[in-house]
Amino acid sequence: MNPAPVAMRDAFGEALLALAAEVPEMVVLDADVSTSTRTAAFGQRHPGRFFNVGVAEANMVDIAAGLATCGLRPVVSTFALFLTLKAADQVRNIICYNKLPVVLAGSYAGLSDSYDGASHQAILDIAMMRAMPNLTVVVPADGVELRQALAAALRRDGPVYIRICRNPTPVLFADAPPLEIGRIRKLRDGRDLTIAVCGVPTSMAIEAAGRLAGRGVSVDLLEVATIKPIDVQCLADSARKTGRVLTVEEHTVHGGLGGAVAEVVGRHAPALMRFVGIGDTFAESGPYDALLVKYGVSVERIESEAMQIMASGRG
C-alpha cells in the first residue's frame, strides 16, 4: 500500500528542523511567507538563526550572500516565482558569480500555487535557473527526495536551487536509495522510448509507462531530479538505445528539462524528441489537478505524445 501523499513544503519545514543540529552553520531567511513555505517552525525553534526580511526578495538573497561569505550556510525561502524573477540579478551577480553556498528554496513552484493564478505560478524558473553559471538545479519528485536534496545542498560547494511543490503529492521514493545530485534515477528499463521526467509529473510518467507497456511500448524511464549538472552519460546511453525521447515537466516546454535534455541528445545521441509541458502561455486560477490537465501535464498527455513519437520514424 502506498503511503499517504506528502507536500514537499511540509517535508521542507520538517527537514530544516531535523538538520538544525547537524548543520549548525545553517541559517534560514524568508520573505514574509514563512507560514506558507513552512520555514516558520524553524524560526520559532531557532529565532537567532532565522531572518524574516519582509517582502523584499532581492535584499533577502544578498543578505544570505553576505552571511555565506562568513562561513554560514543560508537557506533562502520564498515562492519560486518571486525568488527567481524578483531576485534574478542577486542570484546571478552575487550568488552565482561568487559561487556562494546558498540554498535557494523556491516553493509553490510550477502550477502548485494554483488558486492564486498566473501571477504566482513559477513555470519558467527551471529555464531561468539553469542558465545561471555555477548553479546546481534540483527538482525533487516527492517529499523524500526534497529532504535528501536539501541535505545534499547544504554540503555542496556552491549554490543550489531546489524546486518545491506546495501541494500533497504521492510518495515515490520512501524505500529507494537516496537521491544523488547529478545522477539520474532509472525507474524502468526499456528499449523503445526514453521518457525523461522531473518533479511532480514523475508519478504520472510511471503510470503512463505502465499503460504504454500494455500497448507494446517498452519505456526507458528516467527521473532527472538534477537538471544541472545533468547526467549526460545516462541520457545519451538511453537516447542511443531507444532513438526516441519524450520529456515531461511541470514547466514551460521552452528552456526547462526539455531544453536541457535536447542539448544533450542533440550533441551526443541525436534522436526524435517530443516535449510534454506547459505551452508558451500563462495559466490561470483553479484546482491544481485540473490546471495540470488543462495546461498539458497529465498521464493521458504523456501517453498520447508517446504514441505519436512511436508512430514517427526512428531518429
Binding site: 535584499n59 544578498d62 553576505g66 561569505t69 562568513c70 562561513g71 551577480n93 552575487i94 558569480y97
Partner: protein
Amino acid sequence: MTPIIPGAGRTLEALLQEKDRKRKAAALQCLAQEFRLIVLEVLHERGTGHWGGAASAAELLVALYFDAMNVRPEDPRWPDRDRLVVSKGHASCMLYTVLAHRGYFPAAELGTFRQIDSRLQGHPCMRKTPGVEMSTGSLGHGTSVALGMALAARLQGRSYWTYVLLGDGDLNEGQTWEAIMAAAKFKPARFVALIDYNKVQLDGASDEIMPMDPLPEKLRAFNWEVAPRTFDGNDAGEVLDSLDWVKGGDNGPKAVIYKTRKGRGVSFMEDTALWHGAVVDDATFVRARAELLETLRLLEARL
C-alpha cells in the same frame, strides 16, 4: 608606476603606525592624490574605466585601508578582519590601487586593469582579486550584502566592523532602501554606511536625474543613526574625524554622508557627469596629470 608612500620615512609601516593625527591626515591626503595619478594613468593607458567615481572616493578608501580598518593583507580571508563592501563598484580602479599599495597584490598588476586574463576586472570580483570582499558593479547590492556580513559577526560572536561604500546611483536602487529598512530591524553592531555623496550620476546631476535630498532626514526616518554633520569626503582629516564618530558607539546601523566631488582633483573633470566613464585621451591626460601633480607638490610641502 612605482608604489609611492608618503609620510614619515615614506614606508607603509611608518604610515600605518603614525600616531599624530595631523601628520597622518596630511600623509593620507598625499597618498590619495598619488593614487589619483596612478588611476588616471591606468585609465589613460587602458582607454577604459571610470574616473569620476574613483576620484571621488580616494580619501575615503585611503582612510579606511590605511587607518580605520583592521585587516591583514597577507591573510585576506582572516575571519576577524574588518570588511568593506564597495557597492559603487565602478570605483574599481581606485579600490585596486588602494589594495595593491596596502599589500594585497603587486602594484605592477594595476596596468592589467580591464585586460583579458587579468585579476582586475572592470568591476570588482571577489573570486579574482585578493582583498575584494564582494563582487559589485550592478548597483544596489552592497548594503544588503554588508548587512549579511554584519549579522554573521553577531551569529559567530566576532567583533569586526562592516562598512559599505555607497554612491548616488546606489541610493536610486530600491534594494538599497530594502536593506536600510532591514538593518534598522536587525540592528547588527558595527555596521556602517559611508555615502560618497557627490550628487552626480552617469546621466547628469542627481538633482535632475533622481533627487535624493533630504538624505539625512530620510535615513533618520528609517531609524538609522546619522552623523551629526556632513563631512568633507575629499579631506583626509575630515574623513578621520568622521570615522572617530563612527567608532564612538556600536548600537546599530550608522551612516555618514560625505560631501564629495565627482572627478575630484582635476578642475575640468569635477562635478560633471561627462567624466563618469569617458575615455581619458592623450590631450586630456596631459592636462589632468599636470593639475594632479601641482596639487600633489603642494600637499607634499605640508608633510
